[in-house]
Symmetry: D3
Subunit: 309 residues, 6 copies
């Protein structure tokens, strides 16, 4: 069966349950976060098969992440490391701002190595990588390149979401690494800013500029403005669906999961994009990172118009 | 004194206190729901007298409902049944959708019988029925018709809210029953969809088409678009008041309570409609079903414009 | 591989998060309950394989139960029924009392039929049944007997927990049915009261009296007093472990899961009992029904003496 | 060093954590409120030095207020009185209304006397007073006038926020007192209504009319419409910043703190106004009274446009 | 019908929902408190009829108290006063201490006057007074004496609970007033300390010493030690029931309600005491003041031994 | 004035608000933890002066810690580091166990260096160190020794709490380091296990064995068994105060703070111990780490016997 394999760091995520100074917030929820595992969960909810591999600490947070991923039906290859599981702390000082802090330097997840990558990529037909992992450590960066090369060598398609994180490295450090990875991808996802980071101020046709690096499927996702794409040489453009935003975090991962699940299921390009756009819209209407990833039936039910009773 | 008598099922209502998958919701509030008891509470809060009759289970939920209705000042004729009290579960998968599930088949409330209806209708001058009760069971349907006939025989006015519930029966099954009941009503409330269910695609003048069935007071309530009516032959139209919606559920019952309380108090048609529209608007600004029913002083205070301090 | 198969009703469980009158409780948690699925979860957490089969409604509660059981690693055969998913409501009027109400009559779970039982019992080596299911409906009772016969016919061992529930049927109605089922069991679990229900006031040697009905493994669990047993003709007695009770509900299911997981793993009789007693003790130290079922590593860690830091 | 001195009543503030009838609200937060201490906290957060003086009861609320103000870095001169600490109760009957009740008559804070005011005004260069304190009691009114005279006699600038509170006194009683205090001020803050209270229907140029009473710096704050001012003879007008309102209470105090902190730091008039407007906008995006007072770095970070990640 | 009439102050009660410094407590519940209204609610829950009279402020707290008492079935004669409704703040600094602060001086409730007392005592057969009200103000004291005299003049029995509150007045001030009232009582309740306050170090026979002042029914309640009594000349002694204490506040009022409800129902002395002791025990097993007052069926159900399921 | 100086790591602390598997816990509180800052807060609450120095990340948690310590009146010398602020996660799988995980390797706090230590030790008369800091990193260990030497060179007394943490290093690695530090201390605190770690199985007189290493004040704290000591050559022994344990964490720090605050105030040895024992007892009656540190007035109020009202 066609399935997805992804590698990356998954962290515990403490999220403030109210707006205000962090010391005035009375309680926090505890969930999980990580772009790659979000995509794995998203693909599973949309009917696909997915394997996630990563390092976790031998602590309650690590146990919780492993149980939670298995609970979602993701095939979970968790390597237990002697370092701690990374944590994220998310709060909103005001109704208009959101701050996420990463407590992850030196974490278990950042200690990924090339040797961690199974040579058969767990039998997957599609490998998904992000630009976050190479920023975590030298060995993690090596692991990502090793995974990409392994995939290419065995005819497994490579999906890559640029996901530039300014808290982890400078644009200067990131650009060449991300560009290198983009050239190894078959499917490429980017925001406009990220695209410019690797193709320069390339005029307005970002999909074309990115496709010139190699990928035959390029999607530029652009928040409430929707997305533009160049898929097998055919340009496409889809507006976002009109919804009321509850929590903007997680849209990108939902979008990617929507696209890749459709791809695994063999859907045509326009249908892939449509599912991606619907999944991204769904995600922003739900608080939390992975809580907002929709299932197939939830996407079907979603009218995007009115409260149903 | 002029007062309202109503019969129906009242249930316990568990409502999710946060948005998301039901298994990610940390806590639920517990209240009560039921269109008829909502109207009875609403009438009481607006200064009228109301009696509610229905069957409840011999469980904590049944006790709670009886105490809560008495606490609201509703004269409560609760018949304890050996079956369980029905429950509703309400959650919001996203900020844009609301799902209500009914755990009521075979419940105490559905086992209402004609013999439960007191022959003097508790001395009321107005009987209020809904299209929900006849969908619950054969005996409940018989009870509703029996109540309507009893009222007509003794000169008690009959109010009927179509309240078609697709989860309980098909349009095909419901249409003849609801039409039959409508012909027995003096005061009729309907949404546009419900109106079409019983009068067919009747052009645009729904109040007139409904009035042709018999009722001399017909009100078509239409959410944020307000309402149109035909009252003693005089057409009327009122826009909704501009408010920010917190929870759309409960507007219809508040509206009906606003209208009927005014009618019991002997107000003129335009004033009845005005109070109905204000009560409906008030209801959508408060979370919960019966929590949003306003009192007279609350309606007076309500500026519908600005936060008062 | 040796594994467990069990059939029964699983319900949504709303549990009050504070002590007091149900209308003074501000919030409720939402989990799942059901003796058979508790045992299945417990066996899975303790390293065994388990399949649960039952009927669920097509509502959010039914979806939640299916996802939650899958999340626990239980192989879940949920049959979707047109009736609603049963619900339990649990509250504590005082610190000394706990009341559980069942909103289940006519529920999806009670509509189990013999035809629902797969002829291969999902390939299991052990069938677990309880005395709750035969009390739910005629077809459910037939299903339980059918499952027991199917197992016996194919050499699959039958485990039976008497689990008499006075809210579902009288002692008079229950006794012959439970006795019939006990005679079909290889492994039998009972409380002292339940034992007396089917063997009469049989002096003090309840295990022997029960074994006389047929089962070769009999365990009488007796709350804080521990348990007595007759296993392959050898009597045994184990005191309970000394712990501070947080929530007494769920001890029995944890105990049974502890015993059966050990049995599936081929452990000797004394080790089975020891794990049963440890699991039962663990369960009462945790609020919630299935939340208190321990994993192997949790049982290992548990010192039952002191708070560890 | 230049610093602020302010006198007034600070109360405990219980605020409903959900919308609805006060008896349906499950939980309340507990904070502190008081226009003068809000300004003192706001000035401190924006890098200035501030002293607050007032009377508190010898109860847990009084202790909490003193600890909380000290925690904010406000130099706190709390005089313990034998009466109780005043309390405020804040709730929202609907999503559109907010009600604040004061449980303060005869409270410790209202028993302020002229003798409480230190003759050196704690070494401050700026005294801030509001129109609330003179409404609390005769001795409190005398204390406010005494503080103003003391400041004027020693060359300390006087800032005065009219802050008319209709729950404390009538417009008729308040007008002459507030006018008297305005004539003693160097810096004057008013809302349009308050301005009209003391200068009459003065055409549209309220700043000029107020300045005619004496103050050389006059700012008329006008909610979402921003503010107009006459500063050292130069008129100014600034629109409000576009934000989504979470809680409108506290904008005025944040605005005043923004202005006065800038003044203490020696900033030019346009910069003072700009900081005032930014602080006022920040405040409405955060629930709570003093929780919404921004720090310098928070104002810098605030983009007022988009959620930052 | 025989019924109870009581007068006193009822306040809003904010109670910390967790242990710790008041500023570390994240949320507070909001209920009502007042010894007299507690007794009225308790009597009503135990099947008796009760009227409460008192002054409330025109604020949300006052409205809430009136609605809450009516909801309990207490006939409520609330006089709206221009002062604020008194508030109580309850928190636990540690698991072993509880602090209650009263924010009530000058409150609406303290402004009770003799003229507020209806000359027919609302048709009651029993008047209940406490030693709290005379400590609130001169007019409240006069009102209490006036009520007692009115009762005596018309043959209505007088019940009096000494309820000495050290936060309101000194032992020196209280003693003569409480003694005066005790001489006017037919039924007298006291703790050992309170008894000594008015009869001096009277040896060990406190009930006899108190009865010497006039009352023919004297009950000395003594917490976990139970109670001693002298009823119509017959001494009695009852141990407390063994329960686990959740919240000790409210036992006294529940005890008095249990006694008086039994007296109104015409029960014999030993049965009155038995119900009093059961109600007191019930109360300490429930958090909150009036939440712990039992109903008849709750007392019946209560096994005081084990958690029931 | 005599004051305390202490150095160490302070972390954010997420603590589960309910018992159970970490993924079933709905909400977490957020506070701060760190043995040294706990002692600093404790000393301040007991009337002493204290300075804390340490490294914090430039994240919301770091800001919160600095504000919270300042709020407690601790003179706070926070050095902002480019690494993240360490976090602790605390939960209770059962009512009998507590698990704390540290997410701190490589954290800001662990990057302390000798150069961070001010040569005047902030003018303190007493330096407090723990055995935690030397386990964090080489530079942190060097910093601790450097601080001890600096103190000794300038006649500042050195207090040392062994605080062996098995999660940070092995007994084998820790023993020589902790012993070395103990020889540099004037005041030494140890648990029995920790004492044995550095003095071997030294018979039963642990205080004497520890004093032989150099310190003239030695206190062996032993949980619910109280403490033994050798102070200036005089042996002492104090039982623990009888209290009900709510949260055992934090007793040791409260005990040390009680002792050191008394020492700074110049109290005699027996009084120091008495305050230490009272503070330790107080701490276990309150949930949270630093929340349980008592103030002088709280210790005075504490009856340790009964709930006060
Ligand atoms: N406010 C929104 N409304 C509707 N759809 C949105 C919204 N924000 C994002 N989406 C959808 O999700 C996709 C990814 O969102 P985006 O914000 O670009 O991702 P990222 O999280 O990677 O920054 C968008 O292309 C769009 O289709
Ligand atoms: N969003 C809204 N804003 C203002 N008033 C509303 C709103 N929704 C409903 N109402 C008022 O309540 C009435 C009944 O609402 P509606 O939604 O039609 O009832 P129902 O709950 O029966 O569907 C409307 O006619 C209108 O007057
Ligand atoms: N309070 C307790 N302390 C320790 N172990 C207990 C306690 N209660 C139950 N157990 C263990 O769990 C087992 C089953 O508990 P029991 O209460 O008999 O089950 P059931 O839930 O079926 O009534 C007991 O035999 C005992 O080993
Ligand atoms: N809705 C808003 N949006 C943006 N800024 C606001 C808003 N409300 C108030 N402000 C700012 O705060 C200032 C003071 O607010 P205002 O409501 O006038 O004060 P007050 O609380 O004294 O009534 C305004 O002049 C404006 O600059
Ligand atoms: N811990 C307890 N256990 C059982 N019953 C109690 C307990 N505390 C009080 N009671 C019952 O309630 C009665 C009144 O309690 P008490 O504490 O004396 O009242 P008060 O609240 O007036 O101080 C006692 O006489 C006893 O019967
Ligand atoms: N359960 C308890 N009851 C009363 N006092 C206690 C209790 N636990 C600790 N203490 C007091 O606190 C002191 C320190 O506690 P301990 O547990 O030894 O510290 P640590 O947290 O360092 O392990 C003890 O010596 C004792 O005085």
């Amino acid at each position: 069966m066609s399935s997805l394999f992804t590698v990356g760091e998954t962290m515990g995520l403490f999220g403030a349950l109210a707006i205000g100074r962090i010391e005035h917030v009375a309680s926090f929820g505890f969930g999980i976060g990580g772009a790659e595992s979000n995509v794995a969960i998203g693909v599973t909810r949309l009917g696909g098969a997915a394997t996630w591999l990563g390092r976790l600490g031998s602590d309650a947070t690590g146990d919780m992440i492993a149980r939670r991923l298995r609970a979602e039906g993701v095939h979970t290859m968790d390597i237990r490391d002697e370092s701690f599981t990374g944590l994220m702390v998310k709060h909103r000082r005001t109704g208009e701002t959101m701050q996420v802090d990463y407590h992850r330097a030196g974490s278990a997840g950042s200690r990924l190595t090339p040797a961690d990558i199974p040579s058969d990529l767990a039998g997957a037909s599609l490998l998904h990588l992000t630009g976050i992992t190479p920023a975590l450590s030298d060995s993690a960066r090596a692991a990502v390149f090793h995974a990409a090369e392994t995939a290419r060598a065995s005819g497994v398609a490579v999906s890559f979401d640029l996901n530039y994180r300014s808290k982890l490295w400078s644009r200067f450090d990131a650009a060449p690494v991300l560009r290198d990875l983009a050239t190894r991808a078959d499917v490429l996802f980017a925001g406009p800013d990220e695209a410019e980071l690797i193709v320069g101020a390339a005029g307005t046709d970002l999909p074309a500029a990115l496709a010139a690096l190699g990928p035959v499927e390029v999607v530029v996702k652009d928040g409430a403005r929707g997305c533009t794409a160049l898929l097998d040489g055919v340009p496409a453009k889809l507006p976002a669906l009109p919804v009321t935003v509850v929590d903007p975090v997680g849209a990108g991962d939902a979008f990617v999961a929507g696209y890749l699940a459709a791809r695994l299921a063999g859907w045509a390009a326009p249908d892939r994009l449509r599912q991606a756009v619907a999944a991204g819209a769904f995600a922003v209407t739900v608080p939390g990172d992975c809580e907002g990833l929709p299932s197939t039936s939830e996407l079907d039910d979603m009218s995007f118009v009115d409260v149903r009773r």
